[in-house]
Subunit: 362 residues, 2 copies
Amino acid sequence: MNLRIPGPTPCPDEVLQAGAAQMMNHRGPEFAQILRRVTDGLNWVYGTSADVLSFTTSGTGGLEVAVVNTLSPGDKVLSVSIGSFGDRFKSIAKTYGADVVSYALEWGEAADPAEVGRLLDADPAIKAVMVTHNETSTGTTNPLEAIAREVRRRDRLILVDAVSSMSSIPCPVERWDLDVVVSGSQKGWMVPPGLAFVSFSERAWAANAAAKMPRFYFDAAKTRDSLVKLQNPWTPAMSIYYSLDRAFELMRAEGLEGIFTRHEAIAKYTRDRVKSLGLRLVPVDERFASNTVTAVWWPEGVDGKGISKRAREEYGVVLGGGQGKLEGKIFRVGHLGFVSQADVESALDVVERLLEEAKTAV
Amino acid sequence: MNLRIPGPTPCPDEVLQAGAAQMMNHRGPEFAQILRRVTDGLNWVYGTSADVLSFTTSGTGGLEVAVVNTLSPGDKVLSVSIGSFGDRFKSIAKTYGADVVSYALEWGEAADPAEVGRLLDADPAIKAVMVTHNETSTGTTNPLEAIAREVRRRDRLILVDAVSSMSSIPCPVERWDLDVVVSGSQKGWMVPPGLAFVSFSERAWAANAAAKMPRFYFDAAKTRDSLVKLQNPWTPAMSIYYSLDRAFELMRAEGLEGIFTRHEAIAKYTRDRVKSLGLRLVPVDERFASNTVTAVWWPEGVDGKGISKRAREEYGVVLGGGQGKLEGKIFRVGHLGFVSQADVESALDVVERLLEEAKTAV
């Protein structure tokens, strides 16, 4: 099977095997060492000296961690949404009673940093900005560094969904001065789903001390206090930690620059190949096309769902579909984590063949 | 290593190996089949015809699911607590703004069903009762069937922490007419931590429709609606589902009655052996001693922590310690899930030897 959805992503065999190790005491000295090594790995990838927290949950749970630990009901926040996951981040804030100002773009567009600055200037009551780094639903990467600069200049908090970017696309948390940054294990980390990672800046911890949204399982301060003892407050998904411990060995051997360069090269190959097939990318401006997932319009009149089904059933190639209003209109090719150019090449060979057959059939 | 804490529990090799299978599309037809089979297994063990929901989280997260999906801020609830996990259930309800009436017992005691009835009669405004079936911190099992009868008679909701009982001790959800029942994968289910299971009765769903506590990741209605499509709303911890799918094959081969009888016999062996060593059980009335975990007082003057450390380092026997106010005063032997009498026997052989050496040293 050639699993080309943008997560869960395929994992190296040795990583899966590491996850099959026997259980141990989650509050004992052996697991403490694993948690220390894994946290060191997270800090390395995040580019931060403050310990990154890990939670047994999905990326969505990680977004909830970001919201409920820094805000109070009634707090005004600016939601920057360029797709389905930006909308989800906004929904979480609304659910917990935030007063949301919405900066929503057409799907396929990236946010304009200058507009973020204008919106913040127009409303000094806005306390935090919620933004997606890499929008998985449209294959579009926001210019996060420039957006963060606008937010910092006005001294607001910036909460970042980096679920499908961190570890694949540069997102240096301290250098860009980001406050809360969320990622998920099943994306570029080469391990199964089950863990979300969340970093907190000093400013975020200060906000946490005053934040009144209710939280128990997702309480970041409890998680931080347990981490000092090299424990989790609740029983964690230990197998995923075992796997991640092994995955970091592979990642360190390749090096962060090597990983970023590989993702960049495969993404460029993907876009060039897709365009050579006469297909159109979902990102309107290719400068913002994602290096972890490529979203492509099905040609007018082509039964995209039928092609995806045949690709899976006849060739073992699993493509991502469109979400929400893009369902049936686009396909997505994931190229993040444990991926080589050959993986994408063979998947697109199948897309090419099936598209030709579809044309001939007409 | 002989891991004798009350969870995470050791897993059969074939279950761990099943968990090492490669990732697949969590919204595709293969995973749909796994989710169907796993849910069928949960329904079988829970004794319910309504699909049991599963969440990627710990048992504590499961307790939060129970609270936030059935209650509104200001709702009056009766907390029945006989130990650390009962207290935790109460804390979750308080965190989300419930008005908690507390029925707290000395640690080592079980709750009195008649007293639950009296407390409910005394306050008709109490909407729900929160109760721990098996209190892992004291090795004490509440008379849940009788407590449920008192609650039902007065038509209130009963929310049950069955994290460390379900699948090891009888807890038939429909027969006992329980409203919300929570368990966790790392207990009697023979799989790694990472999933919590939560059943909802018709009454619980009616309460859900009116419940105003905020929830997003833990939204049970969203999870139920996704399950109809054989999906999870968010990316689930797939490896644990793979493992659980295999574990149910083992459980069905042994049969529910067989599993319960095995747990009962090993628990009785454990208690008899502990008493033959001259040690005292934490449960005041042995009729309420747990069949999944045995809690034992260290003899006066004995360095229990030192013995536990030696058991681990010199013999590879990992005992559970005391939690909260029982820290250093008791030890706990887990005997749930993938366990045989020989596992407990060899662990208690080591305890016996180290206790004798401690006496000789004095």
